[in-house]
Subunit: 465 residues, 2 copies
């Protein structure tokens, strides 16, 4: 006879309580495999419940494989491994990952929260949600919402003089994601070339994807052609508009050389990272490699995560037609990774001129901030500065210091001061003396009020040792 204490069941439905009790008996080994269970009628009578309740519990146990029903013979316990140890209920979970907290983070290149155009973004989002219909719910084109692609194409034409087909733009959730998709349509055995020094995420993506890659040195005109040729790279990642962290602008001559290099062999490509092109303060932006490319070898990449907010994950790449055809053929089974609402909201935000106004506000701010930082650094009596570079574009300065400290000691000293800091040498694959003792100070995330104190703390690094 199988009797359970139905007083214990609290608010659970009867059949569920019964189901749970029997299951626990099976799992704990109290009901052994092969045991015949009481008939529905018997169990109902013994426990003072209805036959329907028993049937509900038995059926669930059958579906889950704890019982088997044999016609005209009854219900039997199935072969299930007993598990005497129960896991503790809802355990306490300590955090496995936490980001560091800093007084100032000179490595953050993202816009300050205060600069985010909340009210217009909210307005635009509300409009999209109010006017939107099916297109907000339906699966978007796998290359992204058409309206946004068209808007980006005309934005690029207006602001960068680029003639781009919306059909060749791919929207994705971040440059890293797009990069991984891109790698899949480039020749599998390609050797990748990376600026050295350069943006550190790129080699990590290469490593992560198991690709072969080489470093290519820089000179004052951009990536060095000599080093490029020596590297035997097929696909190179460059930032001609504004190299990070050196700040180098690739000259027109070098741009042509790069395009010629790409044209020499069938499977050579240039990935143009145009990140930062919006922030040039004194002169106009320089035409993108993409606009000069007549051989369909340039892949252009940019993102809104830097200009708008790091929490908005919308980036895009522009593919040459032939690559786009390959992309469509091989990748169309993937879904687009950006939510449609945000894509429509961004399209509207650009169309209504909010984006350009926002950029122009940011430009003013970044220019002023950069000048102020230069001035504050120069006034510091503690900092052994020998040279400051930057301020005409982008959002970082290079500050060379005269010190006997190593770069590791500088970084460690900064950490003691609550300051997160990079040195130029960290952007290099192998260190070189001319790249040592240079601080890379990102100021996009800095504010005027903490600047004095930040610089004072920077000075402390060099006096406390």
């Amino acid at each position: 006879m199988l009797i359970y204490d139905f007083q214990k069941r609290e608010k659970e439905p009867l059949y569920e309580f019964l189901y749970r009790c029997i299951k626990e008996d099976i799992l704990s080994g109290r009901l052994k495999a092969g045991t015949r269970l009481p008939s529905k009628r018997e169990l109902a009578r013994d426990n003072g419940i209805s036959v329907r309740t028993v049937l509900g519990a038995y059926e669930q146990l059958i579906v889950e494989g704890y019982l088997t029903a044999k016609e005209k013979r009854g219900y039997f316990v199935a072969e299930v491994e007993a598990s005497p140890v129960r896991r503790s209920p809802v355990p306490e979970f300590p955090p496995m990952y936490q980001e560091d907290q800093w007084f100032v983070d000179f490595t953050s290149n993202t816009v300050m929260c205060e600069q985010f155009p909340f009210s217009t973004w909210r307005k635009v989002m509300r409009e999209v949600l109010s006017n939107g219909g099916q297109e907000l719910v339906r699966r978007a084109d796998f290359i992204g919402v058409k309206e946004l692609r068209q808007t980006i194409a005309s934005y690029l034409y207006r602001t960068r003089g680029m003639e781009v087909s919306p059909e060749c733009i791919v929207i994705g959730a971040g440059i890293e994601y797009l990069y991984e998709r891109l790698i899949r349509i480039l020749p599998r055995d390609a050797i990748y070339g990376m600026e050295n020094p350069g943006y550190r995420k790129i080699p990590r993506i290469y490593e992560d994807a198991g690709l072969t890659w080489r470093c290519i040195g820089m000179d004052e005109n951009g990536i060095s052609m000599e080093s490029l040729i020596a590297s035997q790279a097929d696909v190179i990642h460059v930032s001609p508009e504004h190299h990070y962290p050196l700040g180098t602008v690739t000259s027109a001559t070098r741009r042509q050389e790069l395009l010629n290099w790409a044209g020499e062999k069938a499977d050579r490509y240039i990935i143009e990272d145009d990140y930062d092109c919006e922030f040039r303060y004194r002169s106009r932006s320089i035409p993108a490699l993409q606009s000069m490319d007549r051989r369909h070898r340039v892949i252009y990449m940019n993102t809104f995560s830097k200009t708008l907010a790091p929490s908005i994950r919308i980036s895009y790449m522009i593919l040459p037609e032939k690559l786009m055809a390959r992309y469509i053929k091989t990748t169309n089974f993937y879904s687009n990774t950006v939510g449609s609402c945000e894509q429509y909201a961004l399209a509207r935000f650009i169309q209504q001129g909010y984006f350009e106004r926002h950029i122009s506000r940011l430009k003013k701010r970044y220019f002023t901030l950069g000048q102020l930082l230069i001035q504050t650094l120069r006034q510091s009596t503690l900092l052994p500065i020998s040279e400051i570079r930057g301020g005409e574009s982008g959002t970082h300065l290079l500050v060379r210091v005269d010190t006997s400290l190593t770069d590791v000691e500088i970084k460690w000293g900064a950490r003691q001061q609550g300051i997160c800091l990079s040195c130029l040498s960290e952007f290099l694959q192998e260190t070189a003396p001319e790249y040592e003792h240079i601080l890379v100070l990102q100021y996009a995330d800095l504010d005027e009020n903490t600047m004095q104190e930040a610089v004072r703390r920077l000075g402390n690094i060099f006096t406390q040792w």
Copy 2:
């Protein structure tokens, strides 16, 4: 002497017009490399413009590398490749990719637009945007917004009895994206095993990532243990709750066998695809493999793209602690791929009970729709149906037909009728006679009004030949 027609400049600033004219002359070859340009003063006088205007143009040309300035000697045209051919301005771009249009698409497994809870989603989104602060702008944790992870953990506890740490949940823009991230932390030389028949995107992801994979046969209890062992797979993808397209529910015994199999060797893992677990109409959902896993070998995956809207790209995976530690270590330089606003909105949507209400509405609808489709199919005089399976869970039926047509002919016939259709044989790696002549009818996207006509057209396939 260099004279330009300043009448032509329209609204352009003077310096920009001058810059453009000189640049065009350089690119067209009219100004040859090495040519010395007039001094600023000369050019200003000759064209009746200010020296400052000339300086502006020259400086821009220098930055772009078209000119070089030699101290005390003047400005010289740099070595730039001439380009006699100009690209046509803003060309017409024909669409490169378009999705097919169907009268009914029996392969679409996404919710109908009409079912999307627009008003509550809008409300929640508005609340997030109005109350939100820094957290909406700041870079989210790379594993996703904490509030959403916590909300998912308690949702899973409430509805599936799962005890999951929010610290082991990773939010990402779609299952496909998460899958690719996951692959990177699993052993590089692992052999992947895939249900056969099975969800077709999975082997495409494997192929795309260059992985080795094998097919594993199914029996009535789930994936076949014999076939699994023969396959020598290390990592298997299974859908124990509701196999697609067979509809098989993996029995409790088989679940234990799978967990035992995984426990036998150090690097064996089970990827549990719990997609569809929400849609079980008659019995309760069966506990997930993840809840039964005591050896930390189960990776659980689910998505909101199916339950909420395909345009909302929010999916998640739950990793065993050890894998999570590896994920944090190797992947923390990637940014999270989902916009923060939507993550907060979804968290709120679940917390306020809207999600569960939405699911329960959908369940009712899908159940009714399934029953109606079964009835309509049975009433069809044209369809040579011999068996219908499904309707108790999920959103598709398997319909076996008695016909001399091949599956390819059936599919082609459907296409003629404006109907997109899959046959079960398409989900197999190698076809087998017992899997032929079975239509897979997804009805999530169907509506009552077109059902009669859809079934009539299905019937036409078999009469017109």
